[in-house]
Amino acid sequence: MSRPPGRKQENHKISGELFVLTYGALVAQLCKDYEKDEDVNTCLDRMGYGIGVRLIDDFLARSAVKKCRSYSETADMIAQVAFKMYLGITPTVSCSSAAGNEFSLILDKNPLVDFVEELPAERASLCYCNLLCGVIRGALEMVHLPAEVTFLQDRLKGDAVTEIGITFLRKSEDRKHRRNK
């Protein structure tokens, strides 16, 4: 599954629009299948989870990152390496809790919503990119870092920026050394 970096780059350039259009068609079809926005959001999250648990191996193989020693390093890794590798964007990370286990990724540019101007009126609470949340959650769970990932702000709903919140759930035994992210 791991490809040499050069070929990966040209794959990105070719199929960027196709990927965005495919994702849009997926969301539109889910909207036709489910009446409630919450059902669509749950379905997207579940799909993302399935992608994430498989994507993490590809990510670790391609990026060959070192062990992450803290939650903030993990969040930085997600933002600067993973997002850059798969979506070509680099969100900014900010820590939003004193305990150091809540982080938020602020995306100033989201390629998935390139063609979507605004959500249709009857879908006001749809989280269009909920798949991303599922991917992050699935990937973190496979490296034994359970987390809750949700959208805190969404530009499609009228907020200024798109913000994804990652809350690392504390495990019962407190371990000093985290596994490789």
Binding site: L21, Y23, G24, A25, V27, A28, C31, D114, F115, V116, E117, E118, L119, P120, R123
Partner: protein
């Protein structure tokens, strides 16, 4: 040549929409057969145009009076005109211009199909307005009505306006929540069309 032939037979074998035209036809016939110089002279002899048109003429010259997007099945997806009192007249003008569009498409279709250009050019002139047309390969038509007194508007400017319209239309098509055949309700498209329309206070 083609225009004169069509106008000559306007009363006899006109398209279904053009048969409704009565008063406009004779004037258009006179204008068309008169020749370009006589047409311009007769325009100058007319009384001065109403104030909103004068303002447009002094402006940047990239201004249309009415812009419409027509679907393949010939119903309007989007139609926006300058908010004067006679908006229905623009709707009617666009409707009748669809005949000319169909004629141009079929005429060019008999020639080499791959040489058919998207920009159709001037569809027909009336005494007040000129109507331009553009057809995409999916048979979606863009019709633009421009004021006749706006002589600064050149052909390549009209072409660039149609290109912008086409680009905005493809952006709308890429929206996953837009079903082809729906009416167009897009803020970005509205802004782009507003930038092309004549400013009327």
């Amino acid at each position: 040549m083609r225009r004169r032939r069509r106008l000559g037979g306007a009363e006899a074998a006109a398209g279904p929409r053009a048969q409704h035209r009565q008063r406009g036809t004779s004037t258009a016939l006179a204008m068309a057969t008169a020749g370009p110089r006589a047409r311009r002279a007769s325009r100058e002899r007319r009384p001065p145009p109403p104030p909103h048109v004068t303002r447009g003429r002094g402006g940047r010259g990239k201004m249309a009076v009415c812009i419409a997007v027509i679907a393949k099945e010939n119903y309007p997806l989007y139609i926006r005109s300058v908010p004067t009192e006679n908006e229905l007249k623009f709707h009617y003008t666009v409707h009748t211009s669809l005949d000319v569009v169909d004629e141009k498409i079929s005429a060019m279709g008999k020639a080499l199909v791959d040489q058919r250009e998207l920009y159709l050019g001037l569809l027909y002139p009336t005494e007040d307005y000129k109507v331009y047309g553009y057809v995409t390969n999916s048979k979606v038509k863009f019709v633009m009505v421009v004021d006749s007194s706006n002589t600064a508007l050149r052909d390549n400017e009209i072409r660039s306006m149609f290109r912008k319209l086409h680009n905005s239309y493809t952006d709308i098509m890429c929206n996953p929540f837009y079903n082809p055949g729906d009416r167009i309700h897009s803020r970005a498209f509205d802004n782009m069309v507003n930038s092309m329309m004549m400013q009327v206070c």
